[in-house]
């Protein structure tokens, strides 16, 4: 299979480009997506290719251009709404939760909302408290939404294409720090099914479940685990909702131990649900309580040292693995 090595940024760009070529009803709308080619250049060249009708720069009014997307989807289009970052989706929460997620149901099935809401989520580098929100659990909590969180260029392209073709509102959370990371991607067209986890590394000691950037940095550090004599089985859910509990449970049934790593907060975070599901499915398999590695309980501070101390790092993951292995 021919492949190309491209960044996640390019992968996302290709996915949108291909889907817009494929389906005239697909359009991109958001702040700076056009003339500026995207605040993070994810939409590079799309305005030039598709023109201002299908690549629409908006005023700063997330609630209304997100709601515009819902209205457009109800009337036959397939919007891709870009949040310059998901931090700004907070001003659009009502439109996402009350309109995008509930309209199909309230209308008795008459109005599907084929709409992708995408953009970078999570902390970047020292952008401080208001620009580092991790909201994946809030979206995943809400029936009617799908939540996709790719960590590689390959997944990003395949899943974004599927998200655009999905007839439901899909929250597609990218990560600014991963935009520049390169990966192998088929040159031929492909899509990936939403809702399938992937095993990134096989191991027999402990199952480590991590998504988005958390998965990426662990992949980078696999050596360290080996050095510590820990055989981790690293799983990337890739999709938070629907969650591929099967794959997680299968692994835990084998390892009898689990560590869940997330960039978000502990209280009712995504990891709390993953833990709940794993406990229910693998109660008798587990040899130790599940360990969770999360953002500490504080808004993210600006100071570099405090920021680093607030986010999960490889050291904490190794610690957690040792804890569930009773090797402390």
């Amino acid at each position: 299979m021919d492949t190309q090595t491209i960044t996640m940024r390019e992968a996302l760009n290709q996915a949108m480009r291909e889907e817009m070529e494929r389906d005239e009803r697909v359009f991109l709308i958001g702040e700076e997506v056009g003339e500026y080619n995207g605040a993070y250049k994810v939409s590079q060249g799309l305005l030039e290719r598709f023109g201002p009708r299908r690549v629409v720069d908006t005023p700063i009014a997330e609630a209304s251009f997100c709601g515009l997307g819902v209205g457009a989807a109800m009337t036959g289009l397939r919007p891709i709404v870009e949040f310059m970052s998901f931090n700004f989706a907070l001003v659009a929460f009502d439109q996402i939760i009350n309109n995008a997620a509930k309209t199909l149901y309230m209308s008795g099935g008459q109005f599907p909302i084929p709409m992708v809401m995408r953009g970078p989520g999570g902390p970047a580098a020292q952008v401080s408290a208001q620009h580092s929100s991790v909201l994946d659990s809030m979206f995943a909590y809400t029936p009617g939404l799908k939540v996709v969180v790719p960590s590689t260029a390959y997944d990003a392209k395949g899943l974004l294409k599927s998200a655009v073709r999905d007839n439901n509102p899909v929250i597609f959370i990218e990560n600014e720090l991963l935009y520049g990371v390169s990966g192998e991607v088929p040159t031929a067209e492909y899509t990936l099914p939403i809702g399938q986890a992937v095993v990134r590394a096989e191991g027999s000691d402990v199952t480590v479940i991590a998504h988005s950037r958390m998965n990426y940095f662990i992949v980078q550090a696999l050596e360290q685990f080996r050095a510590e004599g820990i055989q981790i089985e690293l799983i990337d859910p890739r999709t938070i909702k629907p969650l591929d509990v099967e794959t997680l449970a299968r692994s835990v049934a084998k390892t009898h131990r689990a560590v869940i790593v997330e960039e978000g907060y502990r209280f009712a975070g995504v990891g709390a649900q993953i833990a709940d599901d794993v406990y229910s499915r693998c109660f008798d398999d587990l040899d130790a309580p599940i360990a969770r590695v999360t953002h500490t309980e504080n808004p993210l501070p600006y100071a570099k040292n405090l920021e680093a101390a607030s986010l999960p790092g490889i050291a904490q993951v190794v610690e957690a693995c040792k804890a569930v292995l009773y090797r402390l």
Binding site: F27, R53, T58, P59, A61, A63, S64, F65, C66, G67, L68, G69, V70, G71, A72, A73, M74, T75, G76, L77, D94, Q95, N98, N99, T103, L104, Y105, M106, S107, G108, G109, Q110, F111, P112, I113, P114, P143, G144, K146, N167, N168
Partner: protein
């Protein structure tokens, strides 16, 4: 200290603007023209729909007392001319979205009282399969994009429909109905700006019934003439007598005529009045009896009825028959709803996600 209650520096019209009513003798040029455009048959049909809304909702009140209808129930009574007049001026493929006060809009669009009453009864034969209820009438067939419960939450949806109309190079227009209270919400501002910025065929109709729940407009808004906001969006703004069927029809007819070929937004403020409380559970003690009577004197339905008879377009006898038929139609709707099944429990898990 000076209290924080509303004290607009420019006082809202102290003495209420005197209310006019339709009489064949004193029709304006545009009203006469409207009569010609509509003709006898259509005007009678519009009268029928107004009467249908009234009868339907009177029956809803009974059904609510009988606990056949639950949840919130927001009645449109008093505002019939607005919905019927304006929606009689658009095409079937135009888009319409409104708030939870959606019964009148749905009936004006020609939806059958059967499916609406069934919705209110929570039956699977309802327009939203019993899943939406009073606040959430949706109809793909009529391009009714809902029935929305969050004040002003429907405005961006109307904006989106206008976006589609333009995106598809169609000549459709999008009508967004909202209340005077909804004007104070942020999405109003954001959406009007985008509609104007992009020249979208978006018509925003403020159903100014002068109260947002128990709050009179002058206690909620620094301006009581909402068209003052239009220029802030480089948008045209017009005021219309929402109790007057012909004016409502004419305002919308003129608005869409211009905009189909040359997309542009419009802000319409229709001054109207709701006869009942905000919802059926609101005794509306914040309004004076006199105030309600003032408006009942210019009852939108009576206005049309007397106009029709003045014109000799509808005899006393024919009117009686029409009203009898409508009442029968509503009773039939109740029977239909009664006969209809509740949604099967499997429906609970349907439509959460589309295939």
């Amino acid at each position: 200290m000076a209290s924080l209650v509303a004290a607009p520096r420019k006082k809202p019209d102290a003495k209420p603007d005197e209310l006019k009513t339709l009489t064949a003798g004193s029709l304006t040029r545009r009203q006469k023209q409207a009569l010609d455009e509509l003709g006898r048959e259509k005007l009678v049909e519009m009268y029928r729909r107004m009467f249908l809304i009234r009868s339907f909702e009177q029956r809803c009140e009974q059904m609510y007392q009988q606990r056949k209808i639950g949840g919130f129930l927001h009645l449109y009574m008093g505002e019939e001319a607005l919905g019927v007049g304006m929606l009689s001026a658009i095409q079937p493929d135009d888009y319409v979205v409104t708030s939870y006060r959606d019964h009148g809009i749905a009936l004006a669009l020609g939806l059958s009282p059967n499916v609406l009453m069934a919705e209110l009864f929570g039956r699977v034969t309802g327009v939203s399969r019993g899943k939406g209820g009073s606040m959430h009438f949706f109809s793909k067939e009529k391009n009714l994009l809902g029935g929305h419960g969050i004040v002003a939450g429907q405005i961006p949806i109307g904006l989106g429909a206008a976006f589609t109309a333009r995106y598809l190079e169609s000549e459709r227009v999008s009508l967004t109905f909202l209340g005077d209270g909804a004007v104070q919400q942020g999405t109003f501002h954001e959406s009007l700006n985008m509609a104007s910025l992009w020249n979208l065929p978006a018509i925003f109709i403020i159903e100014n019934n002068q109260y947002g729940m128990g709050t009179a407009i002058n206690r909620a808004s620094a301006v009581t003439d909402f068209t003052l906001k239009a220029q802030g969006y480089n948008m045209e703004g017009v005021t219309v007598d929402g109790m007057n069927l012909l004016d409502c029809y004419a305002a919308m007819a003129d608005a869409v005529a211009k905009r189909r070929k040359h997309p542009a937004p419009l802000l319409i403020e229709a001054k109207t009045y709701r006869y009942r409380g905000h919802s059926i559970s609101d005794p509306a003690t914040y309004r004076k009896k006199e105030e309600i009577e003032r408006y009942q004197k210019v009852d939108p339905i009576q206005q049309v009825k007397s106009l029709l008879s003045e014109l000799g377009w509808l005899s006393e006898a024919d009117a009686k028959q029409l009203e009898k038929d409508v009442r029968q139609e509503v009773i039939e709707a109740v029977n239909f709803a009664d006969r209809s099944e509740e949604p099967p429990l499997a429906e609970r898990d349907l439509h959460v996600l589309a295939d």
